[in-house]
Symmetry: C2
Subunit: 253 residues, 2 copies
């Protein structure tokens, strides 16, 4: 009975720190406001910089903060809802999409993709690269893989590569009747090329959306879309209308 209430759970410092900071963000900071730099913050809380960073990392992961090298740490706006085509789906080229085709090449499919498409390992496929922008900032980078067999009528009129070619392939695809599609969402980290498109550092957390498109009893195409996990909330809407609003969040003056 000598000791008075030995804390059974010595909460990690960075965890407690995260809580404190989170509450401060709600009550004392406006969206877009810049925080004190890491060295000052660490000193203010009496912890090492590495410990403070552990807390900031979590908050960034949760979309509460945005950090940029050479600039500083700012309070992030609430995540934006990004619609991921639902409702029976449509081809990736469908009108009204927010994607911008960047390039298209005829290359060997990565092993992973070849397996899903049920193709030989190094069968050439059209590989379309495109980006998606929402509210003025990049939110996703996507690779669409289309086996040559899926678009047999593709003419050689257009350039063999480049954005024009990408649009041509998607147009051909659109002529097939879509029998269904399939989606999977998982956590990943951005590859170097995707990171550049998304204006993030390599390794940044992303939500990877893999979609299979079925036509003529086969898998006619596969797309792998990489969404910024820090700024995006993927929405799959069956019911239209109301938007989900998150977080308190005042606006910066």
């Amino acid at each position: 009975m000598g000791t008075t209430q030995l804390e059974t759970v010595p909460e990690p410092k960075y965890w407690h720190l995260k809580t404190v900071l989170s509450e401060a963000l709600d009550s004392e900071f406006a969206v877009g406001e810049i925080l004190p730099n890491e060295r000052d913050l660490a000193a203010r809380f009496g912890v090492a910089r590495a410990t403070l960073r552990q807390a900031l990392e979590q908050l960034e992961l949760e979309g509460r903060l945005q950090r940029r090298r050479g600039v500083g740490t700012t309070v992030a706006p609430p995540r934006m809802g990004v619609a991921v085509e639902s409702d029976r789906g449509s081809w990736p080229g469908a009108a009204g999409e927010a994607w911008q085709a960047v390039d298209c090449e005829l290359t060997a499919a990565p092993a992973e993709v070849a397996r899903v498409l049920e193709l030989p390992a190094d069968e050439p496929v059209h590989t379309i690269r495109r980006n998606r922008v929402s509210n003025g900032q990049p939110v996703a980078a996507e690779l669409v893989y289309v086996p040559a067999a899926s678009v047999p009528d593709l003419t050689a009129i257009d350039a063999p590569s480049g954005p024009a070619r990408a649009r041509a392939v998607l147009r051909e695809l659109d002529r097939l009747s879509l029998e269904g599609q399939d989606r999977a969402v998982e956590l990943g980290s951005a590859r170097a090329d995707d990171a550049k498109s998304l204006d993030r550092l390599p390794g940044a957390p992303v939500l990877v959306v893999t979609t299979r498109f079925f036509a003529a009893g086969r898998t006619a195409a596969v797309s792998v879309a990489t969404y910024r996990a820090d700024t995006c909330r993927l929405t799959f809407g069956d019911a239209g209308g109301v938007e989900i609003h998150h977080g308190p969040g005042r606006q910066a003056s």
Copy 2:
């Protein structure tokens, strides 16, 4: 011209390390095999332990590794596909679901939830807690919020709380005609209670699936499901049949 090809991109050590380890996992390790401990690995690669850990953390985030305190680091099996009811949806109580009700209480809705349900801030709602298990391991923890108004005929026969009560509320909900539903997926970090259900440490990365259920022109219920991001790939199947298989992955002997 004194310098010969100054490397324009000095790749971070942990990034290179991650690549090397990733390739080693593909070629030299079997699923379930345990890796050398962190101190040995760090020494072997000639880096500080913190740097090695940065690489391991990323690999764990990608679902390639599993680390457990007091035990060690093991090679993770490919992520399991976890179906998130698609196809026009159904009530959370629908038969054949893999959820196990744990508890039910009548409490004030969190601000966040109250907003989505369009209720006054501290309006009492039935709060059901349930867990989902797949392949013998916990994959998700969920909170279902049901306004009292959505289940007016709920009798007081059953206990006022506990799993029986949870089932009773879900049963009542099932009697309403579901007009539609709405889903959002985003990245989060596990709260302490969810972490315990999921057998992870607090702060572990999770995929948060927020679903709104509509009936009688209103939002009749909201569920917030927290999936382990390291072990799960959420699937939204429109087309049945084939499974997506990932990764090389031999089995441990």
